[in-house]
């Protein structure tokens, strides 16, 4: 088991390096750097001045040197002002060391957000916390409902309950967040007036039923159908097993058979599915946070991408790629742990 985990961790690290390299390349394309130089120099700066700004701030170094600096394995050179001989920071709003230092992701320095005018970590981590709260409530509503729907449908395959629940699950998987969000906002905020159509107040005044129900509901609905269908398939398979028949023939009630014998085996597959849902939930987070104006991770990502905020976008990409890979690892380990038949040597 240990060597399995170690090997997976190694592959994960390799994947992270490869992916961050690609992201680093894509966000540092020449047009993006040009835009950055234009926004950071005076509006009337000539092309030469913009180039000089990029040169002075180290954007013209070798690609791999810059990647190493961002990662924290190559020393960052301070930016010496030729007039005074003193070191100045790249951006007014973030301090940088005056001597060459290792200062990158590995040292906890994510760079400087040009959009929010703070160091990236000061923006990124509060945003992650806010999104964590959202995800917590989404999981708390989504997982039990989805499992219940799946089990109810799968325990009597082909029954009327099964058919109607199946169609309902298909319908929810056909409704992406930006559609269900609009429909729910129209019904519950515009017509009925029960709920708050925006979650902006959740950031400042805390989470309440009124401002948080719509985002949570919108995100949960899309995931419920998928998890429910997986649970149903797994439940149907378990219910045809010999040991279920034995338990029935032994005289146990249908209820006991489902709860004591079928349930635990039927829940192994949905566990993996729930874990692998995280990359999809991330897209949902971005949509829902934009739609309901909740200042979390998704909002930061959209702002970073929309405003050419290179360091923040890199930070966001790193976090999302890490979340995806980490949940994949967890799902593999959890699957091996839960299912004794597949347990690795």
């Amino acid at each position: 088991m240990l060597s399995f985990v170690l090997r997976r961790l190694g592959v994960m690290a390799l994947t992270m390096v490869a992916l961050t390299l690609v992201v680093f390349l894509l966000v540092n394309l020449e047009p993006n750097l040009k835009k950055l130089a234009i926004s950071q120099t005076e509006s009337r700066a000539t092309i030469e001045q913009q180039d000089a700004w990029l040169e002075r701030n180290g954007y013209r170094q070798n690609f791999f040197v810059r990647y190493g600096q961002w990662l924290g394995v190559v020393k960052k050179q301070p930016n010496i002002d030729p007039a005074t001989g003193e070191a100045v920071s790249r951006f007014r709003f973030c301090d940088e060391a005056a001597v060459p230092t290792y200062s990158g992701i590995l040292q906890g320095d994510f760079g400087c957000s040009t959009k929010f005018r703070v160091p990236v970590q000061e923006k990124l981590f509060p945003a992650l916390r806010a999104t964590g709260i959202l995800m917590f409530w989404v999981m708390v509503t989504m997982v039990p409902i989805a499992l219940l729907v799946g089990i109810l449908g799968g325990m009597r395959e082909g029954s009327r309950t099964d058919r109607s629940l199946s169609v309902a699950s298909i319908a929810t998987t056909a409704t992406p967040e930006y559609v269900s969000g609009v429909i729910f906002a129209v019904i519950f905020a515009s017509w009925l007036g029960w709920l708050n159509g925006s979650a902006a107040s959740a950031t400042t005044q805390g989470v309440t039923f009124n401002n948080f129900t719509l985002p949570v509901m919108t995100m949960a609905i899309y995931g419920i159908g998928y998890i429910a269908r997986m649970t149903r398939a797994s439940m149907v398979e378990v219910m045809t097993q010999q040991y279920i028949r034995t338990a029935r023939l032994k005289g146990l009630s249908f209820r006991t058979v489902v709860v004591r014998h079928a349930l635990r085996n039927a829940l192994i597959a949905p566990f993996t599915v729930i874990m692998l849902q995280f990359p999809w939930l991330l897209t949902g987070v971005v949509i829902v946070e934009t739609m309901f104006r909740y200042q979390g991770f998704g909002y930061a990502l959209v702002e970073a991408a929309g405003n050419n905020d290179i360091d923040l976008l890199l930070g966001c990409s790193l976090v999302s790629v890490f979340v995806v890979l980490f949940t994949q690892l967890l799902s593999d380990i959890g699957y091996a742990y839960l299912n004794p038949r597949i347990r690795v040597q």
Partner: protein, 387 residues
């Protein structure tokens, strides 16, 4: 100016009336399919279940809507009638502005919501199936050798596929569908590589089968090269000598990004299927006959993997539709005035507090189309399980 509106019944009748070419085409197609369902194989079997009929009907409905869009729509999707800004559903256009009715009202830029929804279906129904087809080609062409040979090829390709799959889709699009990328010409390179796959696929397909029958071989290879080369030139370089096919750089960017994002998924499915099928006896028989590996992959393994692949393709078209909507919703790639459903939902959702009506038609349209595809996939899965 005071705008008069017509009642709900009149709106309903008017809309149903506008769809007359669709109803006609639906009745003919579904009637014929239902009548000859015994002879139509897998497609015919769909008509034996309610879910299947519902799925087929919805999909055909949107297909015909896209085909007959110019007939159905009452206005130009981009035309603005300043007096009808945010007009309520059923608003009557004053005679001085040309007359007619805004069945579903006007949007924030005073365009007809109904006509925009109709023309939006064209964009979705062209890009989504086409991108899925290309993703299927790329995924299949790479998944077959990975599953069949295993070993190093498999490890390398799987690692690459997992790399792409580890990107959250939304991040991938924020990185790949940007003006900066278009400026660098990257989509052209990506498309240039992806669009080679279908040509290579068909060339191998015909070569392995007809290699000993030169009369057919050269005909098929020539046809593939001519048609493929023509499509390649017009799609990748936007230089169609006949001016029939064309893709603007933005559309090419979206297209390449969508193919890039969904082919690893296909790759994984094909690889899994091949690994399962290659242990069958008929594969061993073909190997003993001395058939070449690519012949076995394309003519023995692939036809037997078609069931799950068709189901997956249906789901994937639906998923691509959702993706296109997401792109529209975030204003990535598509032109801001484009009538596609995602862009329309984005525009409308900003004003949801004051005006509700522009948001509903595109939202319902997108949902119903994806629902139709999902129902179709479900019915297909059930039918192919019976075999």
């Amino acid at each position: 100016m005071n705008i008069e509106t017509v009642g709900a019944v009149q709106i309903l009748l008017g809309v149903l009336g506008r769809f007359w070419p669709v109803w006609l085409a639906l009745v003919i197609t579904l009637g014929l399919s239902f009548f000859y369902r015994k002879r139509l194989g897998l497609y015919g079997q769909l008509f034996s279940s309610g879910v299947g009929i519902a799925g087929v009907t919805i999909c055909f409905f949107w297909l015909f809507t896209a085909i007959f869009a110019p007939e159905i729509a009452t206005f130009d999707p981009l035309a603005q009638n300043a007096v009808l800004k945010n007009a309520l559903p059923g608003a009557i256009v004053p005679e001085s502005y040309g007359g007619g009715i805004y069945f579903f009202g006007g949007d924030n830029l005073s365009r007809d919501v109904f006509s925009r929804m109709i023309f939006g279906s064209q964009i979705v129904l062209i890009i989504a199936p086409a991108a899925t087809a290309f993703a299927l080609m790329v995924g299949t062409t790479l998944g077959l050798p990975a599953g069949y040979y295993g070993g190093k090829i498999d490890s390398i390709l799987s690692f690459l596929a997992n790399l792409v799959l580890a990107f959250p889709v939304i991040l991938l699009f924020y990185l790949l569908v940007t003006p900066a990328i278009v400026e660098m010409g990257l989509p052209r390179w990506m498309a240039g590589v992806f669009f080679l796959f279908p040509i290579a696929f068909f060339l191998t397909l015909f070569w392995t089968r007809f290699k000993n029958r030169p009369d057919r071989l050269w005909l098929y290879l020539g046809l593939t090269l001519v048609i493929g080369g023509w499509a390649y030139m017009s799609l990748v370089f936007n230089a169609d000598p006949f001016g029939i096919l064309s893709l603007s750089p933005n559309e090419l960017n979206i297209f390449a990004a969508v193919v890039f994002a969904s082919s690893p998924g296909v790759f994984r499915i094909v690889r899994g299927l091949v690994m399962d099928i290659k242990t069958r006896d008929y594969v061993a028989a073909a190997q003993t006959r001395g058939e070449s590996p690519w012949y076995i992959m394309l003519w023995e393994v692939l036809p037997n993997a078609r069931g799950p692949l068709i189901v997956d393709a249906c789901l994937r078209v639906g998923y691509t539709t959702i993706l296109l909507g997401t792109l529209g919703y975030f204003g990535l790639g598509l032109a801001p005035e484009s009538p596609d459903w995602g862009t329309a939902i984005k525009d409308a959702s900003r004003l949801l507090r004051s005006y509700v009506h522009p948001a509903i038609p595109p939202a319902v349209a997108l949902m119903s189309f994806v629902l139709g595809l999902n129902l179709l996939a479900d019915a297909l899965r059930e039918q192919s399980m019976k075999d």
